[in-house]
Symmetry: C2
Subunit: 164 residues, 2 copies
Amino acid sequence: MPSNKTTQCLAFEHHDHQRCQSRLLSAAKQLCHSQNIRLTERREQVLQILLQSHQPMGAYEILGQLNQNPDVSMVAPPIVYRALEFLLSVGLVHRIECKNAFIGCAHPGHASAAQFLICKGCEKVAELDNPTTSLQQEASQVGFMIDHSVVEITGLCAECQADG
Amino acid sequence: MPSNKTTQCLAFEHHDHQRCQSRLLSAAKQLCHSQNIRLTERREQVLQILLQSHQPMGAYEILGQLNQNPDVSMVAPPIVYRALEFLLSVGLVHRIECKNAFIGCAHPGHASAAQFLICKGCEKVAELDNPTTSLQQEASQVGFMIDHSVVEITGLCAECQADG
DNA sequence: TGGCATAATGTTATATTATAACGTAACTTA
DNA sequence: TAAGTTACGTTATAATATAACATTATGCCA
Ligand SMILES: [Zn+2]
Ligand SMILES: [Zn+2]
Ligand SMILES: [Zn+2]
Ligand SMILES: [Zn+2]
């Protein structure tokens, strides 16, 4: 199934992930530079770890990867959580609430509320960036002022359905 | 703003919550009876605690309330988590992922995927039970088979906006 | 350039949320 | 009542997250 503007479900499709990864890293650098905010080495390390795959990672999993390098001294949880806090605030990373995990943003710079499809089979997560208009309508109908929205759909991607 | 079939935002409106509470408890009892599943004393205790308000509660907060009664011996976390597991499985309680908290279902028996409006001001949560058709369409367009959906909208309810 | 303010990182300890593992009691049904 | 099953109780520990404070790096201005 080819990717298109409507669906943007690249995560579940076979693709050149090296390219995917480096494109997102470049975009991140550019975004930070243009906004004059600092993508420090630590922050970039954490982002790179998250961009390795389309599977979300827990904070301690990221911590583990940081500490895999025996040359440098071990770091503690706050290091990771602070880098994540920054990346979340800039919109380079999203939190997957139903998994207490984090994933690199697939559409950096797109301000619209993200929605996620989470496959229980391959554990990959696809990020959609459609405006959630029907929800916004619903909310405004009752006078509710939206600040942030979490939309996480769990199920099976096409490939995992085929695999049984 | 009056409640209506479209919006069902009772939680943010002034209402007779005593009535609200007892109605939901009755519904729960009836639902369990009709499905021949056991709403034991513990499970009912936990449900009643959750039905006290429209604010979600953490598991340890529930635990605290259970242990407030000095007549009976203290209980430990698994007691609460197991009661919650049951209530979640039956659909009498929902989990608010973005708060790691739990809330009594406002529409017991309605099978459709719930959506929540979460006010940052009063911390109340309103449950909508509209079918999330646009999301389902989106998902099916990319061949994704939905199992469970989490829709949690954070913001300010009408009253909290008015309060400044 | 040196000194100051701020931002980022590092470190230690601890809070909060959740589950594993195993034993006991209660209910069900034959 | 015996056997099987479900629910409850208890202890210990895992997994996730943050508070508090010390240190280092960066940016800015005199
Ligand atoms: Zn990729
Ligand atoms: Zn899959
Ligand atoms: Zn009520
Ligand atoms: Zn409110």
